[in-house]
Structures are given as C-alpha cells and as structure tokens.
C-alpha cells in the first residue's frame, strides 16, 4: 500500500475509535434532554461526516495519484525528541532546567557551532522570560529544584 493512503487510513481509524467511545458515553434522562440531542449524538454525527469526507479524499488520491511525502530530516525528529526530554526534565527536575537544556541542545542540533552562543541563548532567554512573567505578570511557576530555591 502506498504511504499516501496511510493518512486516510489513520483518520478513518481515529473516527471509528471516536464513534466507539461516544457510543459508550452515558445517556441523559428524557426529561433533561427533551427534544434536543444526547451528548453522544453530535460527536457521532461529526465523525460520520468526517468518514464521508475521508472517502472523498481517498477517491481524490486514487484519481490524482499524489506524490508520497518524504521522510523528515533528523533535525525534525531530534526536535520532537527534545520535546519528550523537556517533559521528563520538567516533571522530574524543574521547568526552567528543561527549557535551558532544550534551547541549548536545539541550537546545537540546528547547526549552531559556537557553544557559547547556544549557552548564552539558553541562559538569557528563560531568564528574561522568567523575570517578565514573575515580576510584571505575577505568574507563579511550577515547583521544582530551581523554583523551590526561589520560592523557598
């Protein structure tokens, strides 16, 4: 199967999954819903509509034979991996440690050869943003190693 058909396939599976989940939602007593809709009706209607459109899309693909989409560069996969790293660092250490590490590594990954520039970007940006949000917008950040030191 050509990889262009993967998109309609994934979208169809998603739509069917939504319908299956929606069918298991609670129903409301008649006296509340009255002549209106049950909570499940609207999402199911949407997914049926979507399945029809996916059918049309597949037919268009069959007729036009579009070019398959090329695989991503390692920069893109690497950036997505850094998102995952950010999640882990934020949950287990501190949000700002996560931001620092991700900015630093992303700069290097995207081709910055001067380590000091990447380091400076990774330090100054979160620093300035923190000052702005903390002092001007009065936003409290989630507790972690650094924030525990700051908030006490």
């Amino acid at each position: 199967m050509k990889n262009v058909y993967l998109v309609p396939l994934i979208l169809s599976i998603f739509s069917l999954a939504v319908i299956a989940i929606a069918l298991q939602l609670d129903t409301s007593p008649e006296m509340i819903v009255g002549d209106s809709m049950q909570a499940r009706s609207f999402p199911i209607f949407l997914m049926i509509l979507k399945l029809i459109l996916i059918g049309i899309l597949t037919f268009q693909f069959y007729k036009n034979n579009p070019k398959p989409v090329a695989l991503e560069k390692y920069h893109t996969w690497g950036s997505m991996f850094l998102f995952l790293l950010f999640y882990l660092l934020t949950v287990y250490t501190d949000m700002f440690i996560g931001i620092f590490v991700v900015i630093f590594l992303m700069s290097i990954l995207w081709g910055e050869r001067r380590i000091w520039v990447a380091f400076l970007t990774a330090t100054v940006t979160p620093g300035l943003v923190f000052l702005l949000f903390d002092y001007v917008l009065k936003i409290r950040f989630p507790r972690g190693i650094l924030m525990n030191l700051y908030y006490g």
């Binding site: 409301s28 909570a39 609207f42 949407l46 949000m95 931001i99 992303m106 917008l137 936003i139």
Partner: protein, 494 residues
Amino acid sequence: MFEQAISAMASVVVDPYLLGLIFATTILGVIIGVLPGLGATTGAALLLPFTLTMDPVHAIAVLATIYVSATFAGSITAILINTPGTSAAAATTFDGYPLAQKGEAGRALGIAVISSTVGGIFSVIILCFAAPLLARVAYEFRSPEYFALTVFGLSMLASISAGGAVKNLIGGIFGVWLSTIGAERVTGIERFMFGNYELYEGLHFVPIFIGLFAISELLVQSKTVNKIINTVTMKAVKLPTLEDYKKIWKTILRSCGIGTFIGVLPAEGATVASMIGYSEARRWSKNKKEFGKGAIEGIAGAEAANNAATGGAMVPTMVLGIPGSGTTAIILVGLMVHGLRPGVYLFTEQVEKVYQIFGSMFVANVMFMLMGLYAAKLFARVSLVPTQILWPIVFALSVIGAYAFQGQLLDVWLALIFGVIGYFARRHGFSVAPIAVGLILGEMVETNLQHSLKMYDGAWWMILAQPLALMFLVFAFLGLCGPMIYSWITKQKD
C-alpha cells in the same frame, strides 16, 4: 453614536500608555513579520499569554496591532530576500523582488509601504461603518440563525487555505470535535476526558493555538536549517514619485475594495485578497508585459489588498464571532478571555471599547508606515537572525506562554502535542487554521443546534423555515457544492 465613536477613537491618541503600547507592538509586529516563518498568526499566538493581565482594550489593541503590522512587514523580506515573511506577502515577491534586483529596492518598499497604509486605513474606516450596521442586523438573530450562520462559516473553511477543500473540511470537523471534549453543557455528561478532570471545562484555546501555530511552525522550520538566503542591497526607502502615484492610484483603490470585501467573507483572509488584488492589477494594467519583471502596479495591488483584508476580517470576527483566519481566531480568543463577548452585545453595551480598538488599528497603520519608510533597512537585517537562535527562543516563549494561561502544566503538554499534530497535518497538506476555527465555532454550532431543536420540539426542519437561516444554509451549500456544480455544467456544455 457617531460622536461617541469619534471621541472613543480620539481617546487612543491622548492615552500615552496605549500609544506607547501600540508603538512598541508595531515594532514587534514588524520584526515578527520580517522573520520568515513567524508571521502574524504565530506572533499573535505567542503574544496572547502576555496580554492576559492587561486591560481588555489594551490587550486587543496589542493583538490587532500585531495583525496589521506583521501583515505589512511580510513585504519587506518579500522584496529584499524573495521570501515572504507572511503568506499574505507571497504575491508581493512576484514583482517586488525583480524590482529590487534592478537596484530599486527602496522604490519597491516605498510603494509597498504607501499601498499597505492606504489599504489598512481604508479598511478600518469601512470597519467603523460596516460593523455597527451588521451588528444591527445580527440583533434579529436567534439560535436557528446563529446555527445556520456557523454552518456557513464552517463551510467557508473549504477555501480558508491552500490545503484543498476536502482536507480543510476534515481539519474543520476535527476542530469542532475537539470542542466537544469536556462536560457537555446541557446534560453535564463527560465526553472524551478519560478521567482527566482538568479537561472538565473543555480544551482551552490558548495552549492549543500556541501548539498549532507556533510549535508546529518550529517543526516546519526545522527543515529549513542551513538554507542560504540571498539578499539584495538597498540604499534607502523612497517615497513613490508623482509619476508612480499616477500609475498606481487606481490599482490601490481597486485593491482596497477587493481586500476589504474578501476580508469580510468568513474564512477568507489576506492571502487570498493579495492574490486577487495582484491578478486584478495585472488584468486592468496597460503594461501587462511588465508584470513579473518589477511592475509597481503588481506590488501596489497585492499590498493594498492584503492590508485592506485585515480590517475587513475584523467585521465578522467582532460582530458575529466568526473568525476569518488563524490570526482573527486568536484575536477572537483574546476578546473572549477578556470578557468581551463578540456580537451585538459588544456593539450595544461596550461600544466605547470597540471604537478604541478600531482607533488603535488606525494608529497602528500610521505607525507602521513611518517605520516602513524610515527603518525598513534596519528591520530587514532582523530577518538574518539565524534559525538556530530564533526558533529555540520561540520554543521557550511557547511553553511558558502556554503555562502562563492557567498555571497548569497540562496546557504545556497540550501545546506540545498539538504542535506535533499540527506539524504532521501540515506535512500532509492539511492546514491548521481550519482546526483552530473549527475549535472556536464548535461550541457555537452545537449549542445553537440544541437550542433550535428545543425551540421546535425536535423538528429540525423548522430551522429551514426561518428565512435568514435558510439563506445562510443555501450560501453554505453553494459555497461547498458551487464549484463542483459549475465544473459539471461546463463539462456538459463542452
């Protein structure tokens, strides 16, 4: 009413804080506009969290200023480096860059600045008159009319971007489905929450928009690493000469009309307007052969139209709550977050605020003209900021912005997840703007359908018996099926 409007608009000029804010935001908007990939929508999404603690008028003024100034600024890089800073400036490259290559970059920018300013100011004036009139019509709307209007808005998603009608509609439906996550509003039944009570009130727009527009753009830009940019040199920005004005004034006026009209249509935006403005400039020109080789009418046609569309797009956004593009969707979220409910209420109860916002847009147009004329060369240098520095900074602003909205880490994860979803959607030719617009309109369409069904005891066909509702549904049908019917008829004739 007229006096109230004038005094509210004038109050912008005598409010030094607001003026300073518009000035600073215009600089930021121009910088955002010249940075390839960032653009008005990403810029507005990134700035939205910063406006949360502001006064409502100031917050919307900031977002509207970003919209108009970034839309203009896209032309600077379009002319100097053949890379449109925003998609709305794509048509400007056709003649702007060739003219710059001839050594007339300053003249090209001068034409772009003046045309954009005239287009922007023209559309704000139309906005001031058209919006209250439309609001008066909308006063008559009840649930069936609002339901039909929203369906019409959703049907217009088919042409919101270049992704193709079917793909855009699939994106729009996905957006509407996202709006069903959380507790259902009438019965309180939990939908698609999977036990996560932070989702009880549904998905919030801000983190989703940051993900769809900013994070997904970051991933798209990761493919342009190491791209070599060729720049042309520019001595100074020149004001168009009298000869130039004689040549382009008709084009500018025509594009002002086209841009404003296209902008008013739900889901049509500056990009479509600039393309039509450009092609109409070419169609009416006596020097068609010059087009593509540096015709000043081409630059004027595209630039006047794309900036005129900004004011036009604010009409359905503020009056009907139906955004015409990704950027107006973010402005709409800004209005809602600050308790300014779009629609008739806004134009009857909060009319002063509305005109202050319009006044801010007017001032922003004048400010970007001055910046375009005196500092374009400086701003053009900003576009040379390396991607490996710029986009990691965008990442930091995105995650902190997503967190700042409600102080919940869940919003950060949602922004990242929707960033990845948005990226893969774009990779496969789906635009993210229909998802955003669908998410906004989703609640409106479901709630009004429920109310309509209750009104008519479940007889859904009674919606069709309401003349205005029927009109909107016919428009929606024609919008969706019109092109297909037309091509079928043409084929039959052939």
